[in-house]
């Protein structure tokens, strides 16, 4: 269980069709050895399906799956050496914790004492030692979840899969559980794939995040990358909140500027890949400072159409020439009533220019 035995997982040109529905079509992806990668995407985009393809529970319609340098496409789930934590935990209700965790070792015909020791050891890792004789229905949701993790870990699999493991747990506990999972994964170094709906969870636990959309990969990268340089309007909207607006890019003598609803924003010598002309930008809600005063030439002006006080921050919807903008601003910056005219200050470096849409 050390980092040097971790393997990368590669899916080559993989497809999965259910009858005529093409859930996943010719997808290529690599999960780096020893990392935890999150699959993030809207409901029904194929995250679970992708996970099940890796586990071998679902045979692919086409394509190959490699664990390290080994083609495991023909291996069944039983032979593939993966551990999985199910959303519903899937603990065997008629077996106690010890039997549940020791089940796989029993299948492999390990000796009784050896099984007992292994179970104790793995229960210690998930802080549940002493619960060996409890039955699943005598455990809390969080404890069941940890037993499920322990069961997935005990066979020291090559790959660990999590399908929304925390979705049945209340939000307070979820925070500490996700840190536990993160620590465990880093300690064991098992290549892990983690499905979640919750972007905060995704950003906090993972080395890499894969944003999926309609069975295809929208973008893969570190959480920071994805937030700071979203590859598409979809990713910008999905990771964090974002206002996607249209603008016009002008380039003159190495200096570029952007026209945003009548306001011209000078970008100086910033390197931009897009061609001059119409472009899309992503504006994060927290990049704006709202002011009562400003320069009509350099700042966007708008009218507050809605505000909601949320304690530390206040949310505003502001009608501007570039469209309606959603912002959050620290409540200590003062309150703006509905109908009030405000200037939106921001630093030009914070403008995210989205790459041109792919054909």
């Amino acid at each position: 269980m050390s980092r040097n035995s971790s393997i990368k997982v590669t899916l080559k040109n993989i497809s999965k069709h259910f009858g005529s529905t093409r859930v996943i079509d010719n997808l290529d992806i690599e999960f780096k050895a020893g990392t935890l990668t999150t699959l993030l995407g809207p409901s029904g985009c194929g995250k679970t399906t992708l996970l099940r393809l890796v586990s071998g529970l679902e045979p692919p319609t086409g394509g190959e799956i490699w664990f390290g340098e080994q083609d495991v496409s023909d291996y069944s789930a039983t032979q593939r050496d993966v551990g999985m934590v199910f959303q519903s935990y899937a603990l065997f209700p008629h077996m106690n914790v010890e039997k549940n965790i020791g089940y796989g070792l029993g299948v492999l015909k390990e000796k009784k004492e050896k099984i007992r020791d292994a179970v104790t050891k793995v229960l210690q890792t998930v802080n549940l030692d002493g619960y060996q004789k409890r039955y699943p229905d005598e455990l809390s949701g969080g404890q069941q979840q940890r037993v499920a993790v322990a069961r997935a870990l005990v066979l020291e699999p090559k790959v660990l899969l999590f399908d929304e493991p925390l979705s049945n747990i209340d939000s307070k506990l979820r925070r500490s559980m996700r840190d536990d999972i993160r620590n465990l994964q880093q300690k064991t170094g098992i290549t892990s794939i983690y499905v979640t709906h919750d972007q905060a969870e995704a950003l906090s636990v993972s080395d890499e995040v894969v944003v999926m959309h309609n069975g295809a990969i929208e973008q893969q990268g570190t959480p920071r990358d994805l937030y700071r340089r979203p590859g598409s309007a979809f990713v910008a909207n999905f990771i964090g909140d974002s206002n996607v607006v249209d603008g016009v890019l002008e380039v003159e003598a190495g200096r570029s500027a952007i026209l945003l609803g009548g306001t011209r924003i000078d970008l100086g010598e910033r390197q931009i890949d897009n061609l001059p002309g119409k472009i899309q930008l992503s504006l994060r809600p927290e990049m704006f400072q709202l002011r009562e005063t400003g320069d009509r030439e350099r700042h966007v002006v708008g009218t507050v159409i809605h505000s909601a006080y949320l304690g530390a921050v206040t949310e505003y919807f502001i009608s501007t020439p570039m469209g309606d903008i959603f912002t959050t601003s620290p409540s200590s910056d003062g309150q703006y009533e509905k109908g009030k005219e405000v200037f939106l200050h921001f630093h030009p470096d914070q403008l995210i220019i989205l790459p041109p849409a792919r054909a």
Partner: protein, 696 residues
């Protein structure tokens, strides 16, 4: 390490099956024995061994042994898999040809070889990646397809084949139309339909009435409805018909009473004057069958409707009431429309069951011919008109298959009763007061009638001659039970018990296995099993009966007259119970449990044994128990197949009815009912909640 373990097991498996194949070739009879395995002489046994009497068959073990050099560790999986599949198929074809061409019947040995070939085939397809390489499930699928082919598809096809073979053995493709359009058949078909539709309508109406009464009335009488769950399970189908004869037959109680008052010399008739009443056989014919079927099938429709009714969210009715609708309007405009799919379902079930019923028309039919009895009479006795039986069988099969498919297609999914998983709250809306009063009277009458019927069955066994001489006697029971174990009722009863005892667990196992495969596995060939189960559900017993007679009376598979064929018939007839039980139990178990087990390196077999079976235990017990009861009381198919040595309880009773010994027949019938009752109550006590009831 893990892979090597799998490899070793794989190879051990292959060699074990090879060994079984070769051994059974050496020591078990290759050909069928004329007098069965246990009654043949040593010489006959000796002669039936393949290598002694039939040198040609030596090819089989040689071919089998061919597996060995080709199946070595280290060979590529694909090559090895193909080799296994091709060799297994080739040997199967050679083996089949060896029996079909000379038209000789298979023996135990060749049967076992066939099974080991199926096993080797399964290892082959698993190696080729079928069902993700799972040998156990590949094997189960192969065996189930084999069984369905031999015991469902093949016999049913035989009916279609027999219908185009004329009496002299020549082929006559249009014979079916000749038979169907010949005199009298149209009437039989119309009779069947008319009866089935009337019975369907009547049982639906009555089922609805009783369901409303038991769920919605406030009368304490509603608890008595529980007997609806038990009586039809434990009562052989024709017994209701028999008791109707006791009450309403020519020598029945009603006739007696009427004669006493109005017959010649009766109470109200002056001495010497002619009576204004003659004994009459009014119960025979449509009226009698109708009454018997309505009495015995209403509980089924009751259960369907009760299920639907109790699933209706009371809030919907409360909503109607709060909108100022009266209870009547609510019943009419909300409750009944919500029940519509349930009612349609109950109706179709009633129609199918009536058309398939054999016992009641046989006992009560008189001049009123229906398809199921007409099939029986075309090959019972001297007629032996197989083509006609086959043609009628096809008609009946098509009829019930059509209805079954309609039901499956349109009604299984179209339920207005939404299962949301949200706890339904609110109180059920009681019936309108006047309706409830009326129903109470009606229900009392019905229960009284049922009570009288069952009492008459029990009394009937204790009187000398029903209708003529009501002196109490034990003679019928004595004749049955105290003449030693080899005469009277004992041989048929022990046969029934023994066959059902073997059939029941097999039914439960196969039922759960089929349910598991159908609901949890996807593979090529899924459709074959699916279609096979549809046939098993839909084929009426009579049709199975003639189909088996036609298929298994001659080589290559000669089974008629053996106990095996009866056990198989019982298994196939009770299979719907097993499958339904398995399906409903599996639908309660999340598939992720099995997946978790698979990911813990357990194969399908280990998963079934360690994860599913413990969770399915009560289902297995109740499936087994209910299959046992079904097998004990089944009649329509076994009546074609039981022979002198393999008579079972039901066929014995019917034969006594036919020879006019009604006293003995009802005495036996009442013992059977009591036995089943005790058994059912015992099982219910063991399984805790009465799960059997829910499986009907």
């Amino acid at each position: 390490m893990q892979a090597l373990l799998g490899e070793r097991r794989f190879r051990v498996g292959i060699f074990s099956w090879l060994l079984i194949g070769v051994l059974s070739y050496l020591v078990l009879p290759w050909f069928g024995l004329e007098y069965g395995l246990f009654d043949s002489t040593m010489d006959e046994y000796w002669d039936a061994l393949g290598w002694r009497s039939h040198p040609l068959s030596l090819g089989i073990p040689i071919l089998l042994l061919l597996f060995i050099p080709f199946s070595r560790p280290g060979r590529s999986r694909k090559i090895e898999g193909r080799l296994l599949v091709v060799l297994a198929l080739a040997i199967t074809i050679v083996l089949a040809a060896d029996f079909i061409i000379p038209n000789r019947s298979m023996g135990l040995g060749s049967g076992v070889i066939l099974i080991s070939l199926a096993a080797l085939f399964s290892y082959g397809i698993a190696r080729l990646g079928f069902l993700q390489g799972d040998v156990f499930i590949s094997g189960a699928v192969t065996v189930i397809i084999l069984i369905i082919s031999v015991f469902v598809f093949y016999p049913v096809l035989q009916i279609f084949y027999k219908v185009i073979v004329a009496k002299d053995g020549s082929l006559d493709p249009f014979q079916f139309f000749d038979i169907v359009s010949s005199f009298g058949i149209g009437r039989v078909v119309l009779n069947t339909l008319y009866l089935a539709i009337s019975v369907g309508a009547a049982t639906t109406l009555l089922g609805l009435v009783f369901a409303l009464y038991s769920i919605r009335s406030t009368s304490p009488l509603r608890h008595l409805m529980r007997i609806f769950y038990i009586l039809p399970i434990i009562t052989p189908p024709f017994v209701v018909g028999m008791s109707l004869i006791l009450l309403f037959g020519r020598a029945g109680v009603l006739n007696d009473i009427l004669m006493y008052f109005f017959g010649s010399g009766g109470f109200f008739i002056p001495d010497g004057a002619a009576g204004i009443f003659e004994r009459s056989g009014y119960i025979y014919g449509f009226k009698g069958i109708f009454l018997a079927q309505v009495l015995s099938l209403t509980p089924v429709s009751y259960m369907v409707i009760v299920g639907m009714l109790s699933a209706i969210n009371p809030a919907m009715e409360e909503a109607s009431l709060t909108m100022r609708a009266s209870r009547w309007i609510t019943l009419k405009k909300v409750t009944l429309p919500l029940l519509a799919p349930g009612l349609a379902n109950a109706f179709l079930l009633g129609v199918i069951s009536s058309a398939a019923d054999f016992g009641n028309p046989l006992v009560l039919g008189g001049e009123y011919d229906v398809l199921s009895t007409e099939i029986y009479f075309s090959i019972a006795g001297a007629q032996l008109d197989f083509a006609k039986a086959a043609a009628l069988g096809i008609l009946l099969l098509v009829l019930s298959l059509t209805i079954f498919l309609i039901q499956k297609k349109y009604l299984s999914k179209k339920s207005f009763v939404t299962v949301t998983g949200i706890q339904t709250s609110g109180n059920v809306t009681p019936l309108p007061i006047r309706l409830q009063k009326f129903l109470t009277v009606f229900v009392c009458c019905w229960l009284a009638l049922i009570g009288i019927l069952y009492i008459s069955i029990f009394l009937g066994g204790f009187v000398r001659q029903w209708g003529a001489d009501y002196t109490l006697t034990l003679m019928h029971h004595k004749e049955l039970w105290s003449n030693g174990f080899s005469s009277g009722g004992w041989p048929s009863l022990t046969n029934s018990l023994m066959f059902s005892f073997i059939a029941a667990p097999l039914t439960a196992i196969f039922g759960i296995l089929i349910a598991y495969i159908l609901t949890r596995k996807k593979f090529a060939g899924h459709g074959v099993i699916d279609f096979g189960t549809v046939l098993i559900f839909a084929v009426p017993g009579t049709v199975i009966g003639i189909a088996y007679i036609m298929a298994f009376n001659t080589a290559p598979i000669e089974l008629t007259g053996t106990a095996i064929i009866l056990v198989i018939t019982m298994i196939i007839r009770a299979m719907p119970v097993g499958i339904r039980g398995g399906m409903s139990a599996l639908s309660q178990i999340s598939p992720s449990l099995e997946e978790a087990s698979l990911l813990q390196r357990a194969g399908s077999f280990k998963t079934l044994r360690s994860v599913l079976l413990p969770l399915l235990r009560s289902t297995i017990i109740s499936s087994t128990a209910y299959s046992f009861i079904r097998s004990m009381t089944t009649v329509s198919a076994v009546i074609f197949l039981a022979s002198a040595g393999t008579n079972v309880a039901t066929t014995y009773i019917l034969s006594r009815v036919e020879s006019g010994d009604n006293g003995v027949a009802v005495a036996y019938g009442s013992v059977l009912i009591l036995t089943m009752l005790v058994f059912t109550l015992l099982v219910q006590a063991v399984t805790g909640r009465s799960r059997i009831e829910k499986q009907m």
